[in-house]
Symmetry: C2
Amino acid sequence: MRAFADAGRSLAHATLPRVKLRELGEFGLIERIARAAARRRGTRGVVLGIGDDAALLRLRAGEQVAVSTDACFEGVHFRLRNESPRTLGRRALVANLSDLAAMGARPLGCLLALALPPGLLVRTADALVAGLLDEAARHGCPLVGGNLSRASEISLTITVIGAVARGRGLRRGAARVGDRLFVTGTLGGAALERARAERGRGRIRHVPVPRLRAGRALATFAGRVACIDVSDGLDADLAHLLAGRALGAEIDSSRLPVPPGFRAACKRSRLDPEALARGGGEDYELLFTLGPAAPSAARLARRLGVRVTEIGRVVRRAPASPAPAHRGWRHF
Amino acid sequence: MRAFADAGRSLAHATLPRVKLRELGEFGLIERIARAAARRRGTRGVVLGIGDDAALLRLRAGEQVAVSTDACFEGVHFRLRNESPRTLGRRALVANLSDLAAMGARPLGCLLALALPPGLLVRTADALVAGLLDEAARHGCPLVGGNLSRASEISLTITVIGAVARGRGLRRGAARVGDRLFVTGTLGGAALERARAERGRGRIRHVPVPRLRAGRALATFAGRVACIDVSDGLDADLAHLLAGRALGAEIDSSRLPVPPGFRAACKRSRLDPEALARGGGEDYELLFTLGPAAPSAARLARRLGVRVTEIGRVVRRAPASPAPAHRGWRHF
């Protein structure tokens, strides 16, 4: 196991267009990653970044640590024929940052455990890491450590570390009957692009925006808030949001926010727009409930800095009915 | 990507001796892990464990966060024919805890990103997780979240989160010429057992003890301390400890601490004891330097609660000589 800390020092810095990882060597790649990360460094929360047994991060007074980890594997979560390695690196970090957004946390730093086949081109690995570092810089979440391993499949396992004021973390499970249900941004766009890419029509280019600002704004709300990010799809994540309680939701499908031109594009590709908007994942919007006296969607949008749509409300679920997760959450 | 948070609820709790993961399903295994973890829960640092978008952990006033991630892949870092899944789960967490020990940090919690082939027996996955939870409970580092993915190879990517008093983290790179070099415990035992297992003679059973108490004691030292854990082997990790500076070390090989019966066992297996003690990794002892006025090894042992041996001292390395990492650190 090679921590990023344990870099060698023998490496040129040059672009290596045709070199494979097995020729560069493990420490060579680690050094390239550490150097690329060092060029981007720079948030105040990092006491000690790449280069030691652990990274050290600083909280502000009264804050708690928020941590989450997420893995993506080639052939399961992505295919490099469907997107550039740079896009993949960006999307992989966004998936993790979205978990911090859904807790109302601000990012402090991230760790990358990267597993790569020895026959991979160095430039592919460089592009993956560059994509991740792009998003890391954009959202103030510097790469502070990681691990590199040989493996037969490409995988990126990312851990994000954030901070949230004590008692202010946005939890699932706070919803009650009568609460109003909101979602940021639009749904279905990522699923449409993926479905088209799977059919050989274009590649995945869109990188969702993790709703960090919106999550932090929600965390300052005085009232009851339950929040999750839409990573698996609206229906599945709604089930997670309400899990463990005898709650269901009434969704007004006609109000589901979709991207411009979405319905026409679905029609051209013979895809069901509602199925994509409800079942497709990876939009990384925030799905949240607020009490009945919550502000209007328009006022929330101003406060959260992003489009907000009210899509339904929380209702009682009959005790005998199956839990939403087990019936696909299609009809309730 | 499935966070541990997103468990289903349809599962029996029973032992499943012949069931494969593809029959149990992803959410089924997640629920088993979440339940097993919940039975062990219980340190004061956990504000929110498995079951949300991120875990929340609490620091004490004046502490900083220490984080580290480490991956182990089947065929690269372990083989299940050489050890039980329970031992593997234990060793995987120890490797991570050792990084916290080497920073002088106390553990707060851990995250497990587990990747498993669908054809694996559920009981193998259960045993892996049980091993990890055993060590987690022993060292006060509860499992607070994670991720489960299908993959063609078994891998465990663990992130540990710890806390260390501000300015007290044990860094590498603090060593100076004339400093004295110490190591806790014994070296070579893990490499001997692994070498024997690779030859089909016995399995790996020994689980190293992460030197958390010793690390925390070192972090309270008033004087200069540089510290690393011996994961790659004494020579390699010594190179990492001194990396980036024109430093070398003189090691007195005759003083290297080895386990009881080590030389005889090496002889029986026709293995070179010095090569194992210097080159073998995974003993997870702490290797550290202290200034010339440091206490004796015997006094340090009392303070650190573990055997301590003085094995050499830090010397100047001629600027023209190659960095230790690149010549195998065998002769200096």
